[in-house]
């Protein structure tokens, strides 16, 4: 095998420190990068060798903890999965994830997302009571597959950064939260859909979505939140018709 290729990359990084800055500014760092590196490696190089004051979140370096969502050349990306070799020009602009307030440098406030996620009751509300001593709920591989994809969300919030609807209407529940509600609604063990519906089908819920589809394009885990939201709309529409046109169908 050949030696690893090295290349000098100019990283233009958004800086903002609330104690010293009134508005964000950009700072450019010249970083000797290995071609196999990701943008996160370059940031770590800066932190260790060029500027210890740069702040950003990261942990797993394998695209599963969801900490390092950022805008890389304007695109929502996990910094640990944005490969240097994909940026041929040698110029990379790194900014905090869009649509969230900047706390400091590349760190944003994520409280809004956490609150929204919690509001959809993202936990199993069992259809039937069963003590643990009676063993597991049965679930066939087909029933599992029905919702499995939506369990893969790592809460990285790239979908919120890509969603223009969330940018324009901050009250919107957003892609990941609604997808997670859909995940539980689709679970054969769950009976909590009615409880979630109040939040999901509200004005700030699924009907804010105009199916731009950007969320699914940027999702690093191929969760396809856009698909989930359209399915929620279809199901909610059917609910409405049942309620208004066929009241006798109601339980």
């Amino acid at each position: 095998m050949s030696e690893l290729q090295k290349r000098q990359i100019q990283l233009e990084v958004l800086r903002y420190n609330p104690e010293t800055d009134t508005a964000p500014r950009y700072q450019t760092y010249s970083v000797p990068c290995l071609e196999e590196w990701v943008v996160l490696d370059a940031l770590n190089y800066i932190k260790d060798h060029l500027d210890p004051t740069l702040s950003y979140r990261w942990s797993c370096h394998m695209a599963v903890c969801g900490s390092c969502g950022m805008m890389v050349n304007g695109e929502p990306k996990l910094a640990c999965k944005a490969f240097i070799h994909e940026y041929k020009e040698g110029q990379i602009k790194v900014e905090p994830i869009a649509n969230f307030p900047i706390e400091r440098d590349l760190v944003t406030s994520v409280e809004d997302f956490i609150t929204k996620l919690a509001s959809v009751k993202p936990y199993l509300i069992p259809k039937e009571d069963k003590p643990v001593s009676a063993g597991e709920f049965k679930q066939t591989p087909a029933e599992l597959k029905k919702f499995k994809q939506y369990t893969l969300c790592i809460n990285c919030m790239l979908c919120y950064a890509a969603c223009p609807q969330y940018a324009l209407v901050p009250e919107f529940l957003g892609p990941a939260a609604i997808s997670m509600a859909h995940r539980y609604n689709q679970d054969s063990r769950d009976g909590g859909r009615d409880q979630r519906q109040e939040v999901i089908a509200s004005d700030e819920g699924v009907w804010e979505c105009s199916f731009v589809g950007a969320c699914s394009e940027v999702c690093p885990k191929h969760v396809d939140p856009a698909g989930a939201l359209q399915q929620v709309k279809v199901a909610s529409t059917i609910d409405w018709y049942k309620e208004h046109l066929m009241p006798w169908m109601k339980k």
Partner: protein, 128 residues
């Protein structure tokens, strides 16, 4: 509290210029205008029809003008684009699970195109 989060403003009017995917979305949405306009045209046609043969013929004549043809072609292109953009996303909105596996997306999309072709042919032959 030292924290003073900085909120980046998003332009309410030009946001969609920031990324090609938003422009594509706007293009899809803009095609609605033609569909709306064509619907309006059909209502005008009905109104003319109710006003008698002469009025309706004049209307049909107007449609044959270069401007009328141009509008019809534009509306057709817009409608086709709009329909295609929706057909392409139907597997996401209406996934079909058969046994364990989901039906492949292209089968669902192609089924829509197939149905579209069949309906178009029926209308074409029924109309002739």
């Amino acid at each position: 509290m030292n924290s003073k989060p900085y909120v980046r403003e998003v332009s309410k009017t030009t946001w969609f210029l920031s990324h090609p995917r938003y422009k594509r979305y706007m293009a899809r949405e803009v095609t609605c205008i033609f569909i709306f306009a064509y619907t309006f045209l059909l209502i005008v046609a009905l109104a003319r029809l109710s006003q008698g043969e002469e009025a309706f013929n004049a209307f049909v004549q107007a449609l044959r003008s270069p401007l009328g043809v141009l509008f019809n072609v534009a509306a057709l292109i817009a409608a086709v684009y709009h329909s295609m953009s929706w057909f392409d996303v139907t597997p996401q909105a209406m996934p079909i699970q058969m046994g364990e596996e989901f039906v492949a997306g292209n089968i669902i999309v192609n089924a829509h195109y197939g149905a579209w072709a069949v309906v178009s042919l029926i209308i074409l032959f029924w109309g002739m």
